[in-house]
Subunit: 119 residues, 2 copies
């Protein structure tokens, strides 16, 4: 094991909405993603999903409300809950979720990223 | 669910080496801890443990090396690996590990903190 520097890892990619794995803990993965613009409505039917904002500002739209997350803030999206992340400007985010989770849940489309890509 | 602001949560306690739960994701917990001085040698025989430095500098001593972690850096201590965290000055850390993990592993002592305390 070596230590992991989040900003070093963020410097290794520029594309949006493509989570990159930086660490594994048991059967869970820590992923970094840069987001900008609107994602798709989706849910993860079998797991919660954690968002931690490392830099910038993002929003998560739910059916009944929209929450704003700034640097140093986190949110646990419960399993099965429909949500749509978006960011007006580029935002750097860490995700924590079980290995194997696909970014768009059960909605395949242009924004579905290849899974389990390490940087 | 409400969003969680890490610095707000850190402002709610001052004691060292007493992890406080701030969120749950499936059967895992996110905990905040302020550390200063030396902890005890211990290991967690059935789980990996993640350290993320939110502010300050800490060290994790292993049998064969010592690693230094600064703000924005993380480390996964593999299950069963003996380690001793320490910090020369107060350091704010986020831990991620399964619910039920005791801070001192199987070594009970003065530094063993009450488990599952939420803030």
């Amino acid at each position: 094991m070596v230590k992991i520097n989040l900003q070093d890892k963020f410097s290794k990619f520029s594309e949006h909405w493509t989570p990159k794995v930086i660490a594994e803990m048991n059967e869970y993965q820590f992923k970094l993603v840069k987001i900008e613009g609107e994602f798709v409505w989706h849910n993860h039917s079998d797991t919660d999903e954690v968002f931690i904002v490392v830099e910038g500002k993002m929003f998560i739209e739910f059916e009944s409300e929209t929450i704003e997350l700034n640097q140093g803030e986190m949110y646990v999206v419960p399993k099965g809950v429909q949500h749509k992340p978006y960011a007006e400007q580029e935002c750097k985010v860490m995700l924590v979720e079980p290995k194997g989770v696909v970014n768009t849940g059960e909605v395949s489309g242009d924004l579905t990223a290849q899974n389990d890509i390490w940087i």
